[in-house]
């Protein structure tokens, strides 16, 4: 089976002459949940930003469904059936819940946007209750749900999330993770950066461990849980275990 997302030797960083990731590769199969873990500064978020088109890929190749999407303008990623939920500032706090969803559907025709938003409300009834409230009043967990609901409006086959558990209470984390698991069962593949290595290994099918901008280990998450090398990368690469 061919991969949904195929990333090969991607080099990227915040400045063109200062790469943070030095040739990372990974694949995501349809309906697969893949997590990326690694110590601070491993380049996890940098990679996901480069894949989403927020940062420029200076060399390497990104393919989605066999199509080359390397350095596609950010706003056209949605058409390429991929969606990205950034870390922390992932909703427009000055806009209402409904407006947030409207923004997420801005690449769709208006009537289509409306029906998809209604469908989104069915899947996330909590959001419907607050639809005319500013997103700024939502809790961290509710914001994360809103961000996910918004990302799903365009019907992506791949959803990328940057540390969806950051700043959430443990209870909320498990709620968000349950939600993501359900999405995978519905046919969406997920690529997720996670700070909490244990939680990441527990929830995903496969996991990549990065350190210092390079691939270190990857494999089925269940196998990595017992791998002593994973622990040593966390301890040895200059990052504290979190």
């Amino acid at each position: 089976m061919s991969a949904l997302l195929d990333v090969q030797d991607v080099v990227a960083g915040y400045k063109p002459d200062l790469p943070i990731i030095h040739g990372l590769s990974l694949t995501v199969a349809p309906q697969e949940m893949v997590t990326i873990i690694g110590p601070n500064g491993a380049g996890k978020s940098t990679l996901i930003k480069a894949l989403a088109g927020v940062l420029t890929v200076s060399s390497g190749m990104v393919r989605l469904e066999g199509r080359d999407i390397t350095n596609l303008p950010t706003h056209r990623m949605a058409e390429a059936s991929m969606a990205y939920v950034p870390q922390v500032a992932n909703v427009f706090t000055t806009l209402t819940i409904n407006e947030n969803l409207l923004v997420g559907a801005s690449s769709l025709p208006k009537s289509e946007a409306k029906t998809r938003i209604e469908r989104g409300y069915e899947a996330f009834p909590d959001l419907k209750r607050y639809r005319d409230k500013k997103a700024g009043v939502l809790s961290g967990g509710q914001r994360q749900m809103l961000a996910v609901a918004r990302a799903l409006l365009t019907g992506p086959r791949l959803l990328m999330l940057d540390e969806p558990s950051a700043g959430l209470s443990p209870l909320m984390v498990s709620e968000v993770f349950e939600r993501l698991k359900a999405l995978v069962e519905d046919g969406v593949a997920i690529l997720m950066v996670e700070q909490n290595a244990k939680a990441a290994l527990a929830i995903s099918h496969r996991t990549y461990v990065f350190a210092e901008g390079r691939n270190r280990i990857d494999g089925p998450s269940a196998a990595l849980v017992e791998d002593p090398e994973v622990t040593s990368i966390y301890l040895g690469a200059g990052g504290r275990k979190r």
Binding site: V54, H75, M77, L95, G104, S106, T154
Partner: protein, 302 residues
């Protein structure tokens, strides 16, 4: 006193129109565009240029001092000002955006403003000019209060524009995109918003409003190449007072600045009037740097 308040509301509404455009471009493009005030001058003179080319005044629409030609000239001036703003963005700001820091852009806008002012001076000369030489008789509205019909027109037009702009920002897709872009450009792009398209429209709207402000200034005061220079501080004071990006804030800010200027004349020598917006600006920056109605584009209450 009554007269001072009426005059203040009038000049305040012109300041407000200019400040709306300034607050929009500042909120969305994230830099202080010092050339915005020159767009006001440019708009005023473009309308004059069209009038002098098309010739006669074709008879005013009573009770106003102007007629259909000025209205048409205003539309042309709006287009000409929008084109100038887009050209400036394309030639100066866009190459700098993303590569240089904000201060470079601000200095760039200083240069642009000087250039625009000099071009106007070159084309139209430095002498004060008027759209019409017909003298307008002020109506006595109340004891000690005289208002000219043109001034009432100015107020009414400002009110209509503010309401229309509010509806545009609240109800349309483009307006929503502008508000989203003002809050978080990266998130807006991730959500499928083509930011370059939105930036273009921000310039078009901001410049068109500046042109209208210029024509209204020319109509109720006079045309001089220094209009922009004199409006620069009041515009910034109004925009910052209202909170950068906040349309209603800019309107209220404009009215406060206008009123403060005209009322101050009752207590201090008129020569110091120009310092009043500067004092307001300083006070706001000291006490509430985010403006009275801190917020991003849209202006709704949170």
């Amino acid at each position: 006193m009554l007269q001072a308040i009426a005059d203040g509301i009038l000049s305040g509404s012109i300041i407000a129109l200019g400040a709306i455009g300034l607050t929009l471009t500042m909120g969305i493009l994230r830099f202080a565009n010092f050339a915005h005030a020159e767009l006001v001058t440019w708009g005023a003179y473009m309308a004059l240029g069209v009038l002098s080319l098309t010739g006669a005044f074709m008879g005013p629409l009573a009770p106003f001092s102007f007629g259909v030609p000025l209205l048409m000239a205003t539309l042309v001036a709006m287009v000409a000002t929008a084109l100038l703003a887009l050209a400036i963005d394309w030639l100066v700001y866009r190459p700098l955006r993303g590569r240089a820091n904000h201060l470079t852009l601000v200095f760039g806008s200083f240069g642009v403003s000087l250039l625009v002012r000099m071009v106007i001076l070159l084309l139209f000369g430095g002498a004060a000019q008027y759209y019409s030489n017909t003298l307008q008789i002020a109506m006595k509205v109340a004891p000690g209060l005289r208002i000219m019909p043109d001034q009432i027109f100015t107020l009414g037009l400002t009110a209509v524009i503010v309401v229309a702009l509010h509806l545009f920002l609240q109800k349309t897709r483009l307006g929503l995109s502008m508000r989203a872009l003002a809050e978080n450009p990266e998130l807006a792009r991730v959500n499928g918003i083509d930011t370059r398209h939105v930036v273009r429209w921000t310039w078009i709207i901001g410049a068109s409003l500046a042109a209208i402000a210029g024509v209204l200034y020319g109509l109720t005061v006079q045309l001089r190449p220094e209009i922009g220079f004199h409006l620069l501080l009041p515009l910034f004071a109004a925009a910052i007072l209202g909170g950068v990006g906040n349309v209603f804030g800019a309107v209220i800010g404009g009215l406060i600045v206008g009123l403060a200027e005209s009322i101050s004349v009752l207590f201090i020598p008129a020569g110091y009037k120009l310092a009043v917006p500067f004092m307001i600006l300083l006070l706001v920056l000291y006490i509430r740097p985010t403006g009275i109605f801190a917020g991003t584009v849209g202006g709704g209450k949170s």
